[in-house]
Subunit: 246 residues, 2 copies
């Protein structure tokens, strides 16, 4: 009988071993090879020293997925790892697209704690009510559509969680995003940011929307813009679960 | 020295032990008492048989949080458990609000895999691009605002993940939600639903928006409405990570 291998797509959470699910750890233990972006594979190396590791630099997502599919098709048990969740801006969609014709390949998608949630826990409870998750990266998405999403989310008072808020080439994207939201939400709207979630150098800050507009962040930061009910409580960012009473 | 206890607010994921993070398991092990909604505490009983358990029925969230705070203030290590994440429609916000004046009480919020992510992994990769998470429960939120959020999310082509899509008293809420989205998205938009995620009786279905409109779901179902790029691939629901190429 031909072995067809198995491909896990694993969300490993924000980075520390403790923030992985038991299911994710089991999948990594069961795998012979771990494939991923260099930074995340390095986080796993000390916990799984016996595994074969295959890394590709950032932006080579398609090559990375092709490599993982190919190794699994050769009969290996392979884990493609993603930071946070496997699906939220993760690799599971690309894997399923690229493996469309590899129907005999067993693929198991394992969810993980995405940055919106892990950063949210650090800040307190910013996502206690309806929210939008929006990436400010315009590599694969027209900027007009991103701006439209910011506008629409703000005007119906949804909390907004921003991924990829900045990079060297996009230093002013967060400022622009805040200016759009400021057309619909007050300058004193409670906002938050978390840097290096669950890793060395973790930092959090609760601030107003007008302060956020003039704050520089890096690509390892997750940003939260509250709704009209969001409050600062003892230094934490808290969005109540509704508009009535508590 | 007076002991002030500790209060963990723990997201336990969709329900199975394997979907908890290692941090969540450690917090439960460290706790003397586990407090929560009856259904979720029962899921934990077999894994933590030695712990004192305190449950309250659904809708008594405020009483439940008050109880947990009080026990921790007495000096106990208490875990307040939430299904999914501790923050997304969870108890962490309410705990922080109710403990506003208990400044010496140590509170640690531990995130978990919310239904949007765990159900997403079952369906494939519905949340591969920007998305909105919206609850259809109008207990604490005006229905006009919920409808406004559905409309705004659909018109800027965000994927929509619906929590609390139905209950006995709200049998037609999902139908109404679909009718709103149908004003902006095509009837053949790829949608998905997952029932009893990670538990006995787990079921998933990929279907079109017009089929979803006439589908009856229960309160243990999470619903996904795709964007214009979402596709069905080998029975899975996949939203590509952008609008350019793959």
């Amino acid at each position: 009988m031909r072995t067809t291998g198995k491909l896990y797509v694993v969300g490993i959470g924000p980075g520390s071993y403790e923030d992985m699910t038991i299911r994710a750890v089991s999948a990594l233990k069961d795998s012979e090879m771990i494939v991923g972006y260099t930074v995340y594979v390095d986080l796993l190396r000390e916990h799984f020293p016996e595994k074969e590791m295959l890394t590709t630099p950032m932006r080579q997502e398609q090559e990375r997925c092709q490599m993982a599919i190919l190794e699994a098709q050769k009969g290996k048990r392979v884990a493609m790892v993603c930071s946070g969740d496997s699906g939220v801006y993760g690799m599971s969609g690309l894997i399923l697209q690229l493996a469309e014709n590899a129907k005999d390949l067993e693929i198991e998608v394992i969810p993980g704690v995405t940055a919106a949630l892990s950063g949210g826990a650090v800040l307190g409870a910013p996502l206690g009510h309806d929210f939008a998750v929006i990436s400010l990266s315009d590599l694969l998405t027209p900027m007009e559509l991103i701006e439209d999403r910011l506008k629409n989310s703000a005007l119906c008072d949804m909390v907004i969680c921003l991924y990829n808020p900045s990079s060297k080439k996009r230093a002013d994207y967060l400022k622009n995003a805040c200016e759009i939201v400021l057309q619909y939400q007050k300058p004193e709207t409670v906002c938050g940011l978390v840097k290096n979630i669950g890793r060395d150098g973790e930092e959090m800050e609760v601030l107003t929307l007008s302060q956020l507009k003039d704050t520089k962040v890096d690509m390892f930061t997750t940003v939260y813009i509250g709704n009209s009910m969001t409050r600062e409580i003892n230094g934490k960012m808290v969005t109540p679960r509704g508009y009535k009473n508590v």
